[in-house]
Symmetry: C2
Subunit: 205 residues, 2 copies
């Protein structure tokens, strides 16, 4: 987007949109012009939705997932298995695991991973509250479902050291070839892991 | 984005963002989570910028460009040549022409092009006000700078018929090979036009 803005109000709105991740000035301009063509009520709904979320957002006091109530829908659901806790980085990951419908336990949202490069240490994450949750008893297994990156692995290991003496079973989600992927395009670390961690085959996977 | 939202407030905000053009539900979620990580003041600035723009936006009474004042900065600039008017589709195009720094006249923003498919007729555009502007005198040339599409050409022709008897010079921006383009990749209509409308060559273009 070259050229001088014809209006300071327009420029301000474009600047705000351009602060969003992955939104450049051209896209920001397109989005603002789109909103300008909508009626006032629609624009106000748009603005209110995000302000209301920011002002009234709550986090579950048990798992730290985003929630409209003190305890989230998952933690307060008696149908869920409270003896198994899946440790994830953020609420995005809770939704991703939920979408698989393969997990019936509870979650623990760390709020990030340990990343010295970004200045994020263990104290910035909900690790201490996880340790206390395990110490309180009732949990039999903790499943680590963090990103398979250096930062994710560091965080896995840090929490592992904190929990290894509690006697609780610790597991990590399987790493291997994605379903539908062709072997020749898989990276060698992933392929290597999938061979080392091969699973018994009984005619169907 | 699969899975149930953990919060209705979150879902509402994501739904609002997903209404923006080119923003899917995954991107909407990413943008909302980004804003959620910012402080409240930043989120309020974001929301206020777009609501203020929508509520207080003005359009120049002369050229219909977006403006903070009754008459826009371009129309009220005595340095600009008021005898030449460039007809464009929207304010985006004003900024694009301004960025070239090759035009010192004024603009006339139609607010779209004639498009029966989208239900946009001449009455929905600022065509009558252009005819009156020309009839008021002082304008020597009208330059058509609309998109080189069927709709743009239809609009050009419609306005041409309205202005042809006024004696004002009518011109259209040159169509030809883009600077930097290779001939073999140019479409044949464009290449044909560029041959028909060839310009005198004096050693440098």
């Amino acid at each position: 987007m070259n050229g001088q803005f014809p209006s300071i109000l327009l420029e301000k709105a474009v600047n705000e949109f351009a602060k969003l991740p992955g939104v450049g000035r051209k896209t920001a301009m397109r989005l603002v012009l789109h909103l300008l063509r909508q009626d006032t009520a629609m624009v106000e709904n748009f603005a209110n939705a995000i302000v209301t979320l920011k002002q009234e957002v709550k986090y579950c006091k048990v798992c730290h997932n985003i929630s409209d109530t003190e305890t989230c829908r998952i933690c307060s659901n008696p149908q869920r298995d409270a003896s198994i806790v899946c440790v994830v980085e953020n609420i995005h990951d809770v939704m991703a695991v939920e979408a698989t419908q393969q997990f019936r336990g509870l979650y623990h949202v760390l709020g990030g991973v340990i990343s010295p490069m970004d200045g994020i240490g263990p104290g910035d994450l909900e690790i201490e509250s996880l340790v206390q949750r395990v110490a309180a008893g009732g949990i039999k297994e903790v499943v680590f479902a963090l990103s398979t990156t250096m930062e994710g692995d560091t965080t896995n290991f840090y929490i592992y050291r904190k929990l290894e003496k509690t006697g609780v079973k610790l597991s990590v989600i399987a790493r291997g070839i994605s379903v539908g992927d062709e072997l020749e395009y898989a990276d060698e670390v992933t392929l290597g892991r999938s061979i080392v961690n091969r699973t018994p085959f009984s005619g169907a996977v």
